[in-house]
């Protein structure tokens, strides 16, 4: 008489979560470059996409703001321990959705 117990489904191999060279845990099925696009920008190589984003250059941005805004900016920068330039960069990046 045949057993009516359903056979167990396919499971992950015991070592499927380990890197074959290092033996350390792999990301869950993600490629080693962390899913980042390997498309290289101008002057960049595929290696740049693997090792991390290229460092951003800093440029001057001349803008006119109300004096009261500048005052609050300087106060906020001092309170958070960064320069006004850094604070503006972060606020703009956040507002523009770049995630930096």
């Amino acid at each position: 008489m045949e057993s009516t117990t359903p056979r167990p489904a396919l499971g992950k191999a015991p070592d499927a979560g380990l890197h074959p060279v290092s033996g350390r845990p792999l990301g869950s099925g993600s490629p080693s470059h962390g899913g980042k696009s390997l498309k290289a920008g101008k002057g960049a190589t595929a290696a740049d996409a693997i090792t991390g984003p290229a460092k951003d250059k800093y440029v001057d941005l001349g803008v006119r703001v109300p004096k009261s805004v500048r005052k609050r900016l300087r106060a906020q920068a001092k309170a958070t321990g960064v320069t006004p330039d850094d604070l503006v960069s972060r606020l703009l990046a956040s507002a523009l959705g770049t995630g930096r």
Binding site: R7, A9, L10, G11, K12, A13, P14, D15, A16, G17, L18, H19, P20, V21, L26, G29, P31, S32
Partner: protein
Amino acid sequence: MAMTAVLSLKGGVGKSTVVLGLAGAAWARDLRVLVIDLDPQANATVALDPPPFAFTVGDVLSDGRQGIAAEAIVPSGWGPCVDVLPSEEAVAHRNRPEGVDSSTRLRVTLTGVTDAYDLVLLDCPPSLDELTRNGLAAADNALIVTEPGFFALQGATRALHAVEAARTSLNLRLRPTGILLNRVRGNLSEHRYRMEELRRVYGDLVLDCIIPERSAVQQAQGAGVPVQAWRSPGASEVIDAFDDLLDRILD
């Protein structure tokens, strides 16, 4: 149903490209195709653009039960006729012998699974270790891919010996389809010399159809579509070559 292992013991000669080209040629004819990606580099898997998958060929080989491969097969992004048994980095763990049945596990796990397909293509890694042995033990025929270069031709020679060894020790059904010249640039004298050299040594084993080097192949791979869906003069030459190759395999 034809089950073809695509191999070369040298890396970078375009095995995955040939697998994808053949899968595309079959896709264009509305044939049912299964691509089994045995290469831990998983290039064929990525190019076939499947949805997120839970299991890979490594899990199937680790399990080893008859017919279990069906649970890991997923549809590709190319359409309903092309399925893939995907790969990932960790598949490299299965590239060493694990017990007496180690080399024939893939064949067992595919029992009853491949009947639903007109063509099954096995993309082997560029080594003669356990993953390639599993491919050769499961396949009916072996297509050896090479470039017209000195090192690549040496790799083709070793691959032919490997097919013969696999036939006598693992799989009496296995036959060499032939040696396929890939990425051929007919304007290069070195390529012409190596092609003549290969034909002198291996005669009819060298297939008449050759795959020319065309940027359309890489462009289509980057876009995650078959080269047969890429419209350019270069693509047309490659499409014709893969169509001829498919005829040869399905004969």
